[in-house]
């Protein structure tokens, strides 16, 4: 019964998303595509930083492993595998890279892991620049289009569906949608299952988790590997959308963007990570498009000292992180949840204290390492 309800709840958005290419032009589709790719990566980071409480600033590195892994595996400079195989292997490669870091990721905890993962971004960027036979160096390389059977996810031959010409954006849209649905399905399965409960326990009390039978280091490592795999998948999708990968894209700023997504959306939930991803991804693109209609925002490249759309977006979400952490640590989803709860039932149920104002604050889901070393 609840399964049916759940399926019904997801069917409507799925149908809507699937219908969009018939109504939207390439600009909007690209925003949607980048948002879906970002959401896949953000869900992965949310699993690690939100659910397991392990901060990572190395997410850009794993996006890069996925993106470059795909490009090399499917490209002429590499083994030239069928692109679909290369996609799967690139995700596994990102997971393996996360696994290699597990001696650190399994034992360094909380925000300290954030410091440790800085190394991945800087060392990774260095490798991307210097290993130019594989990566193409500073100028990067072009991305081989994905082909499944004889169907190519690029401009390719003319294809018209129901009177709408299907170019690259339309085709990759469905790929993105499928991968996003897969992410949603698997991440929710994880979070509601045994691993999710173990990771929440690790975050809230390492000691309690251990005495309940959770192998602490193994679960920390596993969370890191899984998060890396989602990042790798996001990297592949981004590469396919951009059609070119360059090292400078995979910088610390990108890692920080992903962190912004999950903080803004509310740590620890799939829907929150998605909302945050859409916000952080779409905001600069929309501001660029509508720069001339926005107060205080200048068109890109219109001169010194003025605030360009990219900057305006960064001000906004930088400030959003601070404001949310100060005033609403559970992010957009938390705000929505509380609003819903207030509408649904003005008073907390049964056992709650009689004064609603004194009800305990919903548990802050921000990264925490509330350590209980006995």
């Amino acid at each position: 019964m609840s399964d049916l309800l759940e399926r019904g709840r997801f069917l409507l958005p799925a149908v809507l998303l699937a219908a969009l290419p018939f109504y939207l032009d390439a600009f909007w589709l690209r925003i949607g595509l980048f948002s879906m790719a970002a959401a896949i990566g953000a869900v992965g980071l949310g699993l690690l930083s939100g659910t397991a409480g392990q901060l990572s600033l190395g997410h850009a590195f794993f996006l890069a492993v996925g993106a470059y892994g795909y490009v090399w595996l499917a490209g002429d400079s590499g083994p030239g595998l069928p692109p679909a195989v290369a996609l799967v292997l690139a995700v596994l490669l990102a997971g393996a890279a996360g696994g290699l870091f597990s001696p650190v990721a399994g034992r360094v905890k909380g925000v300290y892991l954030g410091v440790a993962t800085l190394a991945l971004v800087f060392l990774g960027h260095h490798v991307l620049l210097t290993a130019d036979s594989v990566t193409g160096g500073f100028n990067g390389s072009s991305v081989p289009p994905l082909e499944i059977g004889s169907f190519a996810f690029d401009q390719g031959d003319d294809l018209t569906v129901l009177g709408v010409p299907f170019g690259a954006e339309e085709r990759i849209w469905y790929l993105g949608l499928a991968l996003f649905a897969l992410t949603w399905f698997t991440a929710r399965g994880l979070l509601r299952g045994r691993p999710g409960r173990a990771l929440v326990a690790l975050r809230d009390s390492e000691t309690a988790a251990a005495v309940m039978g959770v192998h602490v280091a193994r679960y920390r490592s596993a969370a890191f590997v899984v998060s890396s795999m989602y990042a790798g998948l996001a990297g592949v999708l981004l590469a396919l959308s951009f059609r070119r990968v360059v090292p400078d894209y995979f910088s610390l700023a990108l890692s920080v963007d992903y962190l912004a997504m999950i903080v803004i959306g509310g740590l620890g939930s799939v829907a929150g990570a998605t909302a945050g991803a859409v916000f952080v991804t779409a905001l600069p693109l929309l501001m660029t498009r509508y720069a001339d209609q926005l107060p205080l925002v200048a068109a890109p490249g219109s001169g010194d000292g003025s605030i360009g759309p990219t900057e305006a977006a960064r001000y906004l979400y930088g400030a959003a992180i601070v404001v949310i952490l100060v005033f609403a640590p559970d992010g957009l989803t938390g705000l929505a949840r509380r609003a819903r709860a207030r509408i649904a039932r003005p008073r907390p149920p049964g056992p709650a204290p009689s004064d609603p104002g004194a009800a305990p604050r919903p548990p802050a889901t921000a990264v925490r390492a509330k350590e209980h070393t006995p």
């Binding site: 800087f122 903080v263 930088g318 601070v322 952490l325 070393t373």
Partner: protein, 298 residues
């Protein structure tokens, strides 16, 4: 032989500058348990203020004002943003993430103002060099070592001889007990941020001085290399941070200096060598290095 002495000197100068930044990290960490990811932008702020003020105020006046202003910004940031999140260990972790948000805002704004420019800070050393036996050394590097040594000695004197230093150590040992004994934690940690901000602003001068071409919008990112230094030193120990900074500075200088022999690592590996050292350290002692703080009793 010449390269050896050159590299040694470069490494010491670099290490001395990292030490300024790392000492700030450690002071903040001891006082509040927060890891400051805002340090890059504080450093950039200090450098930027020096750059725009030195025409009017002269270098010394501009630097003094920049140091004070950066210290004030850091202190206010802690008092009115981070302390609002809370002061318990869990809040320290949330505040750490908030420092990333603050960094985004500050770096965005400063980058916009700096643009693609290289700003001179008007420092008195210019590109002058001094012959020191077998090696020729840039005056700016000698100045970096001397000024850092003086500033660090000053900071240690603060730790040791002022009531604030005593409170800081008490708070780091056991913040609850310190509060019970009348230590005003809000002030202790705010002053820790002020000190860290001042040190970062000072460090900016030497990161932008010769042989660097000037202050760029990416100069702030160098501050992150003080994290490996602080970690190497154990994060909660000021002396450890000094030793770690020197090791990191020397590593970077020697890797860069012997780059031709290390070409397998790729050009420019010196810049990222500190992070490689950090990973190696964490592989050997992953938990121990951070074990000093955050322990509570069940």
């Amino acid at each position: 032989m010449t390269t050896l002495v050159d590299n040694l000197f470069n490494g010491l100068a670099l290490g001395a500058v990292y030490a300024l930044i790392a000492l700030g990290f450690v002071t903040i960490f001891k006082a509040s348990g927060v890891l400051s990811f805002t340090h890059g932008s504080l450093l950039l702020l200090g450098g930027y203020l020096t750059a725009i003020l030195h025409d009017d105020l002269g270098f010394a006046g501009a630097l003094a004002l920049a140091v004070l202003a950066t210290a004030a910004v850091a202190g206010l940031l802690d008092r009115y943003v981070l302390q609002r999140i809370g002061t318990d260990p869990h809040a320290a972790h949330v505040a750490t993430i908030a420092t990333i948000g603050v960094d985004i805002v500050l770096v965005t704004d400063l980058s916009r103002r700096i643009g693609g420019d290289l700003l001179g800070l008007g420092d008195p050393w210019g590109d002058a060099v001094t012959d020191m036996g077998p090696a020729t050394v840039a005056d700016s590097r000698i100045a970096a070592i001397i000024v850092s040594a003086v500033a660090i000695a000053g900071a240690f004197a603060l730790f040791r001889f002022t009531p604030w230093g005593l409170s800081l150590r008490a708070a780091a040992e056991d913040s609850e007990a310190a509060a019970l004994m009348g230590v005003r934690l809000t002030r202790v940690r705010m002053l820790a941020w002020c000190l860290a901000g001042a040190l970062a602003a000072l460090a900016a001068v030497f990161l932008a001085a010769f042989p660097a071409p000037g202050l760029e919008r990416t100069t702030g990112q160098i501050a992150l290399k003080a994290f490996p230094a602080a970690i190497l030193g154990g994060m909660a120990s000021p002396v450890g941070a000094l030793v770690g900074s020197l090791l990191i500075g020397l590593t970077e200088a020697f890797v860069a200096g012997y780059q031709s022999d290390l070409h397998v690592l790729g050009e420019g590996f010196g810049d990222v060598a500190p992070y490689a050292v950090m990973v190696l350290v964490l592989l050997v002692r992953p938990a121990g290095l951070f074990a000093a703080r955050g322990a509570a009793r069940v």
